[in-house]
Amino acid sequence: MGSLEQPTVREDGLQLDEHRRFQERFWTIERLAWCVFALIIVAGLLGAFGSGGPLATKVTVIDKAIVEHPRIGRWEGTDEMIVRFKSDPAAQTRSLFLSNTFSEVFQVEDIQPLPVRTVLEASGQRLFFDNPGHDGGMVTLHLRAQSAGSASFSVGIDGELASLSSFIFP
């Protein structure tokens, strides 16, 4: 039926197409959608869509450090990556390697503390931090995701590589 066709006149005199069966189905779908809305809110609180929450951050423990990175992020949204260096009596300088794939996904807006030097390598960049006390410490990188989708990258701590991945929501 085209939209220019006249609706039929009902027994009560109203000239309209009520489509009650469709309406009943739609009311059911509507209520199911509200349940989905509730699930989305719970998932949001848990961090399934990034920006905080237990699911949004992944903690990776390696020999030399503990790395917290955004497992789920948002395109153009800000995030943090925290590297907690474990104490190492043999190391006076600690290094953090960020692969090129990391730089393609995240723009590093700020590093706290600033590295004493940065070395450019074919596969990425290596940042060096003085640690004269040999007792480790914490480096925080403030990131902004530059592309949407899933991404895998490597982060190295004192030469030990960890393969990490993130999903960035558009």
Binding site: G2, D12, L14, L16, D17, E18, H19, F26, E30, P170
Partner: protein, 147 residues
Amino acid sequence: METVIRGAAIYFILLIALRLSGRRTVAQMTPFDLVLLLIIAETTQQALLGDDFSIINAALLIIVLFSLDIGLSYIKQWAPRVARIIDGTPTVLISDGKPDLRAFARARVSLDDVLTTARVEQGLEQLTQIKSAVLEADGAVSIIPKD
């Protein structure tokens, strides 16, 4: 490219969210609903524009949104089933003076809502004076008084 995708994505997200949230919210708009609408508009604006406040971005977005609206209106004309899904259909709440309580409950409309509309729009005093009441597809309640 990004602007077109942003515009289309937000258009359809808003369309789906508003449709699924139910039209009663549109019909009985309280002052808080108005504030909520303004907040949604502000949130949408940020998602649409991002960091790009250029005139070309705004112009492109406006054209995308209008074009989608025009395109959808043609689709609705060609396919009435799509029109029903997107716009909804009228629901008869009172037929021949008899209230359909199931329709009232499912559409989240109360008898008070109908009586208020009857008083405001038709000057009717009682439910018995109403022949028909229809919850229109746009969320408004229309009242037909008894002769």
